[in-house]
Amino acid sequence: MGQSLVDVNNQISPAASTNDQIEKLEATIKALQHDNAKLQQQLEDSTLELQATVDEFLRSDNERKRLVNDIDEYIRVDLERQRLIKELQAAKRLAEENSRLKSEFLSTMSHELRTPMNAIEGFTSIMLSRMGGVEFNEKTERYITRVNINSKRLLQLINDFLDLSRVESGRLELAYQPFSPVDLAKRWQTEISILAEKKNIDFELILDPHLPETVYGDEEAISKVAINLLGNAIKFTEQGKVSLALSNGGENWQISVTDTGIGIPPHAREYVFEEFRQVDQTSKRKYGGTGLGLAIVHKYTRTMGGTVTLQSEVNIGSTFTVTLPIQTKHESVESKQ
């Protein structure tokens, strides 16, 4: 950088003329000016270069700061995410625990309620059968009969209530097994004919010849639905007949229960499937029952992936039709609650 600089003192000789000296000085000044301009330029260049370097530095520093911020943000989000996961896991554990407790409560309650009822029913039935050498007079027999009948009613209510709680809490476990719908219907017939005979009502079983020989389903749950409908039909019919029809609907099969009973007025058709609802309170007193039967029918059918419909005419009769999917192999039906 310093090679073109002129040493002013060395260049001026004492012997030279004034003009020469002036010329030399002018040349020197020119050279100096030139050098100065060059230096100025170099300085400007360097300044620019420095500025660029500084800018670059500032820019990359900003970039670094931005990255640091990004990382901080990422860490914050990750911590938040971990916190949320923990919260969700805790909520899931709590829900599972609640569900387990609810199920445990149901099973404990059901055991605790039934145990004394079983004893009452067992011992009164023993007395009425005169087993174990018991003796009593006619009046006592009448009273024991009342205790026995009422214990049966209470046990039925407890069982209905627990069946309903089980299906409502999603605790109804369906056991899918192959079975013959015809054999099952004949078993219902055996059970229901006894009730029909007692009331002098005819019972008719109508079987579609095209019914599948075997379907997959939970016999216990299907029987609960059918027996409830058949029991109701008998209960609300004073004369005439109750018929049970099984038919094949292609992808479905149907269980229809028709009676010649009192019928259900249009306004009541909307709520008869609700818990503790009968057509009215008078009917409840007159016909008895827990008022849970149709709620059980409705919920069990729905859980099995089926539907239940009602056609009725007051004083003519009612038909309840349960439509269930035909399952020819093991498929689980998602609960549609």
């Binding site: 004893a119 023993i126 939970d218």
Partner: protein, 143 residues
């Protein structure tokens, strides 16, 4: 479907072991089986039941499922793992609507199940239906 159709000596001199932790339930079963001529031996849990079964070598066993000390599952497991006891038919007593228990009872080795409550009207009738399915017992029934 009542006792009228079933002779009172149906189970005459049969040794039967009944296992249940509920004393009332046990007594109801005992009175009814006794009314049909059976010699009833009882246990209040699976361990007591097993002891009775070893001692008596009964015609068949009726056992509750849920019991303290050793439950019905423990009892059937012990029975099925003992050559001298494995052929004695065992019937499970299950609570209403415990559908899962019923399937499990059969899988575990119980011959079949009966559902509580046991009553004079239905117990012997339901039991008879189950016993008819067991050839070695059916031939000895007094009917």
């Amino acid at each position: 479907m009542t006792r009228i159709n079933i002779p009172a000596d149906l189970l005459s001199n049969w040794d039967i072991v009944v296992v249940d932790d509920e004393p009332d339930s046990l007594e109801v079963a005992e009175i009814i089986l006794d009314a049909y001529g059976a010699n009833v031996h009882t246990g209040t849990n699976g361990a007591e039941g097993l002891e009775q079964v070893r001692k008596i070598q009964p015609r068949f066993i009726i056992s509750d499922i849920s019991m303290p000390v050793m439950d019905g599952w423990g009892l059937i497991h012990e029975l099925k793992n003992d050559r001298s006891l494995m052929d004695i038919p065992a019937i499970a007593l299950t609570a209403h609507a415990m559908v899962g228990d019923r399937e499990r009872a059969i899988t575990a080795g119980f011959h079949n199940y009966l559902t509580k409550p046991l009553t004079a009207e239905t117990f012997i009738y339901d039991l008879l239906k189950l016993l008819m399915d067991i050839p070695e017992l059916a031939e000895h029934l007094n009917i």
